[in-house]
Amino acid sequence: MARRGLALLLLAAAVLAAAAPLREVFGFPTFYLIFMATVFFWVAQSTSWNILSGYSGYFSFGQGAFFGVGAYATAVLMSRHDFDFIATLPVAGLVAVLIALAIGAVAFRLRSLRGEIFALLTLAVPFIIAPFVRVTPALDGGQGLRVPVPRQYVDLVGGFPEFIFLASLAIATLAVAIAYTAQHSRMGWALFAIRDAENVAEGLGVPTFRYKMLAISLNGFIAGLAGAVFAVQVGFLTVEGVFNLTVPLFVIVMSVLGGRSHWLGPALGALVIVSMRDRLAASGFEGWSLVILGLVLATLVLLAPEGLMARLLIRPRAASLVFAAVFLALAAYGGWGAPLDWLAVAMAAAAVVAFLPVSRRRLRQQEARLLADEAIAGPAEVQPVETEPAEVQPVEVQPAANLLAQPAPAPELGQPVIECLDVARSFGGVHALRGVSLTVREGELVGLVGPNGSGKTTLVNLISGAFAPTGGEIRILGRSTRAMPQHRMAHLGVARTYQIPRPFESMSVRDNVAVAIMFGRQPRSLAEARRLAAEHLELVGLSRLAGARPSEINLHERQLLEMARALAGRPRVLLLDEALAGLNPAEIDNATQVVRRIHQSGVTIVLVEHLLRVVNQLATRIVVLDQGLALADGAPQAVMSDPAVIQAYLGKGAHA
């Protein structure tokens, strides 16, 4: 599939490339080549931006820095050191990659990094590089830099416009090919998982830091190459001309307009925006194009953040009909404008049709389908999801009757899976855990209970590596986890669920599980992961919802999905954090059965739960936490009749 797509892409590029020599045959003006070169330049820029910012969700305002250093690398090497143009290309790309890696190494290591902070940090970068380039005589020195025409290549292809056209086309093709490949590889899935829920992704075994660094490097590399071509195209570089906010503005607007979830979205956005700007300039309204761009950005973010690509695919026929009708009508009339004007107006009309209101539900499905790659995900028509009736008949709960009616199988205790040695954790003076020692052995199902605020969730966070203990040590299968990144702990065999389910919203239920398999303890390819995902969905009883989106299933089903996803990485131990919270009695009974099945399939489980009747039913052993300390540890019946435990739960009357 991926190969066929790439082949099609190259074919399209080859057809476009043929336009250069054919220009004189058909006699269309040089202007068209320059126009297309501009389109290709922005396709490369916005597509490269989208690999980092669209796929991973970290919006960068630093595009001008990558593009600028690439342009200056080529300009300096060609004009001051007589380098061959082609020879400067790798340098331009690599210099930009270095800048990208420097930004990433700083930003992605910040504990407090959020999208806003990343945006502001990258916003500052071009303004730091610009004065440096301006005052350094070896680079610019404040005079600007003249870039020689690479004569031998220009002569080879028959003219300067042809050369620029072909060079831009090459870079744009490379950019789209990389974006396409990234989206159809492990990298794309890792980045989308990061965008949807970064901590969850890391916890499932995705090395998030590595993938973010890879994405920002690709962004830099392609932008640097585009800069190199730009330097030759303009012939004269100034600091103000490259290190500015126009470049990030354009790539952001193009990508937001075209759509960030699809490899082709930014390219589409670039085509629309460049045409619009070109036509406005030709009609003498150049000063208004930025006004329109700003408005488009503000409006789309507020009203249609998914972008044109997803919208067009919902109404492909209507949009193409309107496009054709408007274009043909203008051509037939012939009294106004040039073919490019007709094209621009027709595009605008089609875009308007695409952006007509559409239901949220269809949009979400369309976005997820873009991601899922429709050819693999099956027929385009997604079966309407049968949701449970809202009112499930409450089942009469008889805790006493159920109590230990189905005792868990006598566990054959194996080696220790989790060892907590005097583990403590405080948050700014508040001691959430004050030294808990606890060993969980293979085959156990340990119920971790305690009153509110006793430290249960904190302990789960520590064992899963979400944060590090402030005292003591945690060992997984005998290995110390000190200073270990969370995804490595996942690879050791720890998996967890979250109290409030955090699915990857843009992926189908099946792909939520598949992504966890792809990055789990035994990594698989996407196709194989999708096949295996079915087994896990079967185990928790979600098979019939495999094609649904997380937003379309109810809380109970989302919690089951959490479990399936956690199991997908083939963990040795599964930490279930309040997996039954908010469920009705019938759902609780079902979830209880699922947990039992998982345990019987050989997975060690730590169950944090405040429904004690469920814990009593399932656990082979219960640990009670109270005020950050382990209060009791033992067989369920013994623990729950311990007076200290009863007091921790029921309290003691002032006069009792």
Binding site: F59, V106, L110, R111, S112, L113, R114, G115, E116, I117, A119, L120, L121, L123, A124, V125, F127, I128, A130, P131, F132, R134, V135, T136, N244, L245, L249, I252, V256, G287, W288, L290, V291, L293, G294, L295, V296, L297, A298, T299, V301, L302, P305, G428, G429
Partner: protein
């Protein structure tokens, strides 16, 4: 290196930092208290500057008098943008994108109207730009003193309002725990419009003071962003006094580095200061909230 010169540069820098702190103040307050990042703040400053230039030139009046008009206008603009944010229940990150769009639109409109050429207040209308105060060997330009004076007045005034008044208390409570603050009767939407309007007012003041001390060009709307956000982050988001100190520090640092090293590395030093702040004290250098 001449010590006298170094001192002069550091003090001038710190004084000039007052104006940048003033630019940062409204941004910091709306970010810290309302959880929106309003890049359109920079066009409110820019527009304030151009309006001061235009009104002062047209009516031949002292540019400071134009504040009577520009402050209410920018109050309205600030409140209007906040209203848009509230009506669309915008996320913190999307507020950044939407206001970036607004920033681009207005800067371009300003360019279309006033052109990209430099504009400067006429010398006869602008008594502040050529005078300066001598303090021993130190020369303190009047317009820097003016900027620092306004910044000090507004930050201390803002601090007192936040700390001592019913409205200020309500705003702080809301910033810390919106749900509980509402449970005690605080109507957030009205307070938020008020605060965003006040931030717009400070933008007008900053713009006027900028026009007094500098020639105007639309690109400045973008050029301020880096340094102003550095001040916001170093001073502590939502901390008005911290912003003032950070403004003086950042600009003094900038000037000193430019002098003893090179102007080209000064932005790098300022940027490093942001990163160090984010790593060591994400809540800002001057925040009381413990780490």
């Amino acid at each position: 290196m001449n010590l006298q010169l170094l001192l002069q540069v550091a003090v001038s820098g710190a004084l000039a930092g007052g104006l940048f702190a003033l630019m940062a103040m409204g941004l910091s307050l709306t970010w810290g208290m309302l959880r929106v990042i309003n890049l359109a703040h920079f066009v409110m400053i820019l527009l304030g500057a151009y309006l001061a230039y235009e009104l002062s030139t047209a009516a031949s009046i002292d540019p400071l008098l134009t504040l009577i008009v520009t402050v209410p206008v920018m109050f309205g603009a600030g409140a209007a943008i906040q209203w848009l944010f509230q009506a669309s229940r915008i996320s913190e990150f999307n507020s950044l994108l939407v206001s970036f769009g607004i920033l681009i639109v207005v800067v371009q409109l300003i360019t279309n109207y006033w052109t990209a050429d430099f504009r400067q207040l006429e010398a006869n209308l602008n008594p502040y730009v050529r005078q300066s105060l001598r303090l021993g060997e130190l020369v303190l330009p009047l317009h820097h003193l003016l900027g620092f004076g306004f910044a000090t007045g507004i930050s201390v005034g803002g601090y007192l309002i936040l700390e001592r008044t019913v409205i200020g208390r309500a705003l702080r409570a809301f910033a810390q725990d919106p749900a509980i603050a509402a449970a005690f009767g605080i109507d957030h939407n009205r307070l938020a419009l008020l605060l965003a309007g006040a931030a717009g007012g400070t933008a007008a003041v900053a713009g006027t003071l900028w026009a007094i001390g500098n020639p105007l060009t639309p690109a400045q709307g973008f050029e301020w962003i880096g340094v102003v956000f550095a001040i916001v982050i170093i001073g502590g988001i939502g901390n008005v006094l911290g912003t003032l100190v950070a403004g003086a520090l950042v600009l003094a640092l900038y000037s000193v580095v430019s002098l003893v090293w090179s102007p080209s590395v000064a932005p790098l030093v300022v940027f490093s200061a942001i990163v160090v702040t984010l790593v060591l004290r994400p809540q800002g250098l001057f925040s009381r909230r413990g780490s």
